[in-house]
């Protein structure tokens, strides 16, 4: 039997380009492959991806597998798992890494069960054990209250990695690598789902995950109207508005505004948390921010444990004056 060898990165494609998570994973994969003294390969799956392999090579891959087929236009569990099963069986990687994204969350576990192996989801650190050469997978558990390090003796070892947990390499267009096309060979009747419609629910303005300033509100904001004040502050700071889970569940803001374990991961220069307690699952999504400011009337609120600056007062009395002063300081 052939041996499992090398590191494979599943590279997501977004709007015709390599997604940011793909280059982050390639950066991480390069280190792991070097630690093992093995090859790093990338997999691209989609319907119009020809040419993107070069970008993966520039970002660290030695080899790229491309699976290009009109049936792969939309991510669907049945088609993507089948294609990835084929790629893994052909390439036999020791390690397979995907992003903890809408696709990775769905694809990784199902693929792991298909391949009769195990996956570790939402890892924030990956390393090679110097003795066993196994992948050490560190992930957040208990809603971010704890971290756990796992290993598995099964092959391949599959992990998904959280967005922004890894750094991409500086792209080097002079890097050389091989691009190998693999045929999808899909049977359309074996795809048991159909994507009828994609409904964007973007929060207006700057994209939350790209914003340099994030103003986030929690349950204490109380209603949709309250969030208008947060929007005003975000506008002044040229930032975006986010939220914890309760405002999304109560439809004060769109679901896409949710920051945390099951929402978006943000790492802005400035994060302002207003009337939110700082549940661990929320902090998971924002604790990588450079500066954290908390406004909450409860001095015991968990958010003050991660904040750099805080005000212990009712946000309703603080925010208008704060916004005014910021406006004045920024001359707008």
């Amino acid at each position: 039997m052939a041996e499992y060898k090398g590191v494979m990165i599943y590279c997501e494609v977004n709007e015709g380009k390599l997604a940011a998570i793909a280059t982050e994973l390639l950066g991480c994969g390069r280190k792991l492959a070097d630690a093992l003294g093995q090859e790093l390969c990338a997999v691209l799956v989609g319907s119009n991806i020809t040419g993107l392999g070069k970008g993966a090579i520039a970002s660290g891959a030695d080899k790229v597998y491309e699976v290009n087929d009109p049936l792969l236009k939309d991510y669907q569990t049945d088609s993507y798992v089948t294609v990835m099963e084929k790629v893994v069986k052909q390439a036999m990687p020791q390690i397979l890494i995907l992003g903890q994204t809408s696709i990775g969350r769905d694809l990784a576990p199902r693929l792991a069960f298909r391949l009769d192996t195990a996956a570790a989801m939402d890892c924030i650190a990956l390393a090679i054990d110097p003795d066993s050469k196994q992948l050490l997978q560190t992930r957040s558990v208990y809603g971010g209250n704890a971290l756990a390090t796992f290993t598995s003796a099964c092959s391949p070892q599959i992990a998904t990695v959280r967005a922004k947990a890894m750094s991409p390499l500086k792209p080097d267009a002079s890097r050389q690598g091989e691009v190998i096309a693999i045929k999808a060979d899909l049977d359309p009747s074996a795809i048991r789902t159909k994507v009828l419609e994609k409904v964007p629910e973007e929060v207006a303005g700057i994209k939350l995950e790209d914003a340099e300033v994030v103003v986030a509100g929690g349950r204490g904001i109380g209603n949709a109207d309250g969030f208008k004040q947060l929007q005003e502050l975000a506008r002044v700071l040229k930032g975006a508005v986010g939220a914890t889970r309760p405002p999304c569940d109560n439809e004060w803001v769109p679901d896409a505004a949710q920051i945390g374990l099951t929402g978006k991961i943000v790492t802005p220069d400035l994060y302002i948390g207003v009337a939110l307690s700082g549940a661990s699952q929320h902090l998971t999504g924002c604790s990588g921010s450079k500066s954290i400011v908390a406004i909450n009337k409860d001095p015991e609120a968990n958010i003050f444990k991660v904040a750099h600056f805080g005000i212990v007062e009712d946000w309703k009395k603080v925010l208008p004056a704060f916004t005014e002063k910021v406006k004045e300081l920024l001359g707008g």
Partner: protein, 266 residues
């Protein structure tokens, strides 16, 4: 419509973060004293999804919980909410499983139940946050799956599922039977009514051991694991927050703005 829901008893994720403790010698979480376990919130929403379908078109809801030391008042909550039957996979050999061994046992139990149109799971359990068991059950049973659903409509033997994505949602049509995992965007799960609690109290859960679902004890729980937990630990938080004061909240707000300007943060 026959619906099966998998629901897990977990340590209450809403317990104050300060009460969360890990015992490093055993790599286990110490349950916070005086805080009752709960049904994992996403699993409650999976029960809610099932109830909404039954409300609209009738049917039967069977709930499965797997574990040891399952507190009856906790695992019966889906019955109190309105589910019809409760099956407990309760045996020492089911304890300390990972996603693999848990999905395997649940899949075998679902196979034994036999007739079903939809299997619902929460998108992930509030303890290990892996989010793999639903996909695993679907793969073992050969079912199509849709994960992270916020709305489910049934028409003509198919489910129309709104699946949450990073930038909104997509509408996915799936043939039945199917496995669907449910996310919080579905909306809050209903609270049990007094009538529901009275009815649920009278129902006795069915208890299945490994032999009842045709598996060996060595295939489930800790013995059936494919992953090893090397270390469980709590991240260290710095905890150096500078509290900005003022004679009034408004003055504190102005001082905060000045402070951020001075530190070149804004």
């Amino acid at each position: 419509m026959n619906i099966i829901v998998c629901a897990k008893q977990v340590i209450d994720p809403e317990a104050p973060p300060a009460s969360f403790k890990v015992d490093p010698s055993s790599n286990k979480v110490v349950p916070p004293p005086g805080v009752s376990p709960v049904i994992s919130p996403f699993d409650e929403q999976a029960v809610e999804a099932a109830l909404r379908i039954r409300d609209a078109q009738g049917g039967k809801i069977t709930v499965i919980s797997l574990g040891v030391n399952l507190l009856r008042d906790v695992v019966k909550k889906p019955l109190y909410m309105g589910a019809d039957e409760l099956i407990l996979l309760e045996d020492e050999s089911f304890a300390e499983g990972d996603s693999w061994s848990t999905a395997y046992a649940l899949a075998m139990a679902i196979k034994k139940i036999g007739e079903y149109d939809i299997v619902f799971c929460g998108r992930q359990a509030a303890d290990w946050d892996a989010g793999q068991v639903g996909s695993g059950i679907a793969e073992i049973l050969g079912l199509p799956g849709v994960t992270v659903a916020k709305k489910i409509d049934i028409t003509d033997g198919k489910a129309r599922v709104e699946r949450v994505t990073a930038d909104g949602y997509e509408v996915v049509e799936v043939s039945l039977p199917a496995l669907i995992t449910v996310s919080n965007e579905l909306g809050e799960a209903r609270s049990p009514t007094l009538k529901g609690i009275m009815a649920g109290k009278k129902k006795e859960p069915v208890i299945w051991k490994p032999a009842d679902i045709g598996v060996e004890a060595s295939q489930v729980g800790a013995a059936g694991r494919r992953t090893g937990l090397l270390k469980l630990f709590q991240p260290v938080r710095e905890g150096k927050c500078e509290i900005i004061e003022g004679a009034s909240p408004e003055e504190a707000a102005v001082n905060l703005a000045l402070k951020l300007r001075e530190a070149k943060i804004i």
